[in-house]
């Protein structure tokens, strides 16, 4: 386990918690430290508990843990919410002059650091900077060079003028100086710096950047938490690469616009979350049956219905696999880390065009809003390859015309993939329809043609299974008797849990699966293991259902459905607990 440091800032929504956390994360990243963040927020603009948590180390960190070393508490509730994570020697930075914090419930074993945040901020130029004063205080507690904080403040406020930057730097120094002058406590923390250069980004940003890298030029979407960040990232950036973002009137419109752009030949995407996936189910079938390449990003949140819009869940697996009436192939990719959000997005666009079908790219809320540091070459643009499949030009389409010279967009082929001519290609004019169609794309109810078209579409899946690499990611002891399987964002926490389990003498093999459909065959791995656990953030175990069906073997499930992500120590505890107790594991 890395020598880590765990920090959080908490208060009410509207207190600037998110930007405060982001600034400190940026400062740590610029100091050459690895960072992994987690947000706890409510679906409201003001009020309600919200927190931003950072785990940092000079080594790579891939999860948050249930432990806090330094907590900036703007409200009493922040302390209540985090009491269990504080330990002997933890530090709480708070403003005792704030009415609500005068009698702050500081636990006995914790160092309470009373700093007049607001007053010092006012001295520096404005009360709004009180959180920055707290960050300066945190620098003093952790022996963290304040120049790194300056660098983050410049990045954050630089565009708004040097005066604002200077005021913020001054505010930070007032916080630092106050702690150094008024508190003689010896703190245990020392945030050393390195010369390493890291980039810091979240999953939504990685998806947006991956889309641009992959040649996506058109994005249509409707705002929805937690997918809006994808649209906000693309807006203002994709235009510089010849693309366009449009905010549609609803998700029905968004997916239709994206479909239209894709029919015109553009690489197109829409992104949404559960409620939007439901609305898009109607047009999803049209995308699939017209064999149009489209990437649909689903950033999952707690459902059903409006559910818990700002909370974690991996509950939409079945909706993506089975959503929409009728039967039609679609691919489902689920990147397991933030850097993989980038690469799987690129892959999603290539798969969509090569196999001419809709591809669901799914992240969950934790992956989407979590920030993590990476080496910049984790996003090496020279490694991005674009494959457009059977796109034909005027010359190429000649071999796909029938005896009347008509282009056949749904030609029956051995590999199931038909030629694709984009509008504007001479002699390529053709229609297609949501009705079952013949090779010309015209309505048919001919029973033979129906079978041929259904078989053709299914054959694309067989072709893809043969041609593409659907390997999962593997960690831990390959010969271990205990097999853990998960999908999506649980990977980081589980990878760290492996080490914790090993410390307790428990070896596990961990397979992290980014491909939901098509997916790797895990039957042998499941057969070889004595105990198999499938880890996922939902109640029913939707991925476990798939694996059970694939392997016809019994797996035990580790589920979580209270709206909170898995943490590494929790996973380690539940797995070790499950191994020593009954095989039935459920919360």
């Amino acid at each position: 386990m890395p020598a880590d440091f765990n920090w959080a800032v908490g208060g009410e929504a509207g207190d600037g918690i998110d930007s405060t956390g982001k600034i400190f994360a940026q400062a740590l990243s610029r100091a050459g430290r690895h960072v992994f963040t987690s947000k706890d927020f409510a679906s409201r603009i003001r009020g309600g508990y919200t927190a931003y948590k950072i785990r940092t180390s000079v080594d790579r960190v891939q999860s948050v843990v249930n432990r806090l070393d330094v907590l900036i508490a703007l409200t009493p509730r922040t302390i209540e919410e985090n009491r269990d994570e504080l330990h002997d020697g933890s530090v709480i930075i708070y403003d005792g002059e704030r009415t609500t914090m005068a009698d702050a419930p500081i636990p006995d074993n914790v160092v309470g650091l009373d700093v007049p945040l607001k007053r010092l901020a006012e001295d520096a130029g404005g009360a709004i900077m009180r959180n920055v004063v707290a960050l300066g205080a945190a620098c003093a507690v952790t022996d963290f060079p304040i120049e790194n904080l300056d660098s983050a403040l410049e990045k954050r406020f630089g565009a708004k003028g040097q005066k604002l930057v200077d005021n913020n730097k001054e505010a930070a120094r007032k916080g630092q100086a106050y702690v150094e002058e008024n508190h003689d406590h010896e703190f245990d923390y020392d945030l050393e710096t390195t010369d390493n250069d890291y980039v810091l980004l979240n999953g939504d940003e990685a998806i947006g950047m991956g889309a641009i890298a992959a040649g996506c030029r058109y994005y249509a979407g409707y705002p929805i938490t937690p997918a809006t960040d994808v649209m906000e990232y693309l807006k203002g950036r994709i235009e510089q690469y010849g693309g366009h973002v449009v905010q549609a009137e609803d998700e029905l419109s968004a997916i239709n616009m994206a479909l239209g752009a894709a029919r015109a030949g553009a690489r197109a995407m829409t992104a949404t979350s559960g409620p939007g996936i439901d609305l898009m189910a109607e047009t999803f079938g049209l995308v699939a049956t017209t064999e149009t390449p489209l990437v649909i990003t689903n950033v999952m949140r707690s459902g059903p219905s409006t559910g818990m819009p700002t909370k974690q869940e991996q509950g939409d697996l079945n909706a993506m696999l089975y959503g929409g009436h009728g039967e039609i192939p679609r691919f489902v990719l689920a990147p397991t880390t933030i850097d993989e959000c980038f690469w799987k997005t690129v892959e999603a666009f290539n798969l969509a065009e090569k196999y001419q079908l809709p591809v669901y790219l799914t992240a969950d809320l934790s992956l989407a809003v979590t920030e993590q540091t990476f080496e910049p070459d984790a996003f090496d643009m020279d490694e991005v390859e674009i494959g457009r499949g059977k796109l034909v030009d005027e010359e190429g389409l000649a071999e796909w015309q029938n005896e009347k010279g008509q282009f056949q967009p749904h030609a029956i082929t051995d590999d199931g993939i038909s030629p694709r001519a984009v509008p504007g290609t001479d002699e390529g004019a053709h229609m297609t329809t949501g009705l079952e169609h013949d090779e010309l794309g015209r309505r048919t109810e001919d029973t033979d043609m129906r079978i041929k078209q259904v078989d053709k579409r299914d054959r694309k899946v067989e072709t893809a299974e043969e041609r593409e690499d659907w390997e999962p990611r593997e960690f831990g002891e390959s010969e271990a008797d205990t097999l853990i399987v998960s999908w999506g964002s649980n990977e980081g926490a589980m990878v760290e849990a492996i080490d914790m389990l090993a410390d307790d003498g428990i070896d596990v093999r961990f397979i992290s699966v980014p491909y939901i459909f098509p997916r790797p065959d895990l039957s042998d791995a499941i057969d070889a293991a004595e105990d198999v656990f499938v880890v996922e953030c939902n109640n029913n175990g939707q991925f476990a259902d798939l694996l059970e069906r694939d392997a016809l073997a019994r797996v035990d499930r580790i589920n979580k459905y209270n709206g909170v992500r898995f943490t590494a120590d929790e996973l380690a505890e539940r797995i070790s607990g499950a191994l020593t107790a009954a095989p039935e594991v459920s919360q």
Partner: protein
């Protein structure tokens, strides 16, 4: 675009299954003529059709075309045009498709003002499902699902469009072939969202809004002193409770179309073999 394109080039070899005498024949012929007259050819034209009798038009015309889901033709067509501004884009559907299930998209398509043409074949009835009330059916129009009439006023699509900020509103009659063609042609030539409500009678299920009715009652604004560039004049004809009109009822040539407003000029289908030049700038932002 070749100059020797004839309107029959836009005709597919599929025979329409519309009822003999259906207004949709005339509506479609006018669309094909207008497309040919404006210098388009099937390979640069994209037709998006909705669901209903009218939705079959994509099959009977020859061009790039997509026959979509019910009510969603407009956003689909907008996506096509935004991605490739070189294409001539036309959406077509019925009154149910556009003014009932798709009315939300209609309002926003009007506001968005994408440079395309929207032809609504308005027969004031649901024909394909064999005769139920549509949003433009008269208040007392008796059908299987409304035996005493809908008992609610019909939608006035022209007024909806005007209130949503339309830049081109027209109405035509499928049987008046020359005027219908001229009007659709003007809609195509309009730099923005060209909306044409076409009276396209259903001879099987609507015995009220018939050829005779429109022939007798329709007033051509071309034969009046109506000024389509004058908003008040447009309001007068569009909200007239006593008469129905054909012709270009309103046109605002000052407003920018969506593409001009957003600087869309490139065909987005064309992309490089790898990440775009300068893509590494995106990574640098995250330092």
């Amino acid at each position: 675009m070749s100059s020797d394109v004839r309107f029959t080039d836009f005709k597919s070899d599929k025979q329409p299954t519309w009822c003999p005498g259906c207004g949709d024949f005339g509506t479609m012929n006018g669309m094909m003529k207008a497309l040919a007259n404006t210098g388009n050819d099937p390979d640069n034209t994209f037709v998006v059709a909705g669901i209903g009798c009218s939705g079959k038009i994509g099959t009977y015309m020859h061009s790039y075309a997509l026959h979509g889901v019910h009510g969603r033709a407009l956003p689909l067509a907008a996506g096509v045009k935004m991605a490739n501004p070189d294409l001539e884009v036309m959406a077509a559907g019925g009154d149910g498709d556009g003014y009932s299930i798709g009315v939300g998209h209609f309002i926003h398509a009007v506001r968005r003002n994408v440079d395309m043409t929207y032809v609504v074949m308005d027969n004031r009835i649901y024909g394909l499902t064999k005769g139920q009330a549509s949003p433009t059916s008269r208040e007392d129009f008796e059908t299987s699902t409304t035996p005493e009439g809908p008992k609610q006023p019909p939608v006035n699509p022209l007024a909806l469009a005007l209130s949503a900020g339309a830049t081109f509103i027209a109405q035509s009659f499928s049987s008046d072939a020359m005027r219908h063609t001229e009007i659709v042609q003007e809609a195509i030539e309009h730099d923005g969202f060209g909306f044409v409500n076409v009276f396209s009678p259903c001879v099987t299920f609507n015995d009220v809004d018939t050829y005779d009715y429109f022939r007798d009652e329709l007033v051509d604004v071309g034969e009046t002193d109506h000024d389509p560039t004058d908003l008040e004049s447009a309001q007068d004809v569009i909200l007239d409770p006593d008469k129905e009109y054909q012709g270009v009822l309103y046109q605002n040539e000052q407003a920018n179309a969506y593409g001009a407003e957003h600087g869309l000029t490139e065909n987005m289908a064309e992309i490089p073999d790898g990440a775009p030049e300068n893509a590494t700038d995106l990574v640098r932002e995250f330092y």
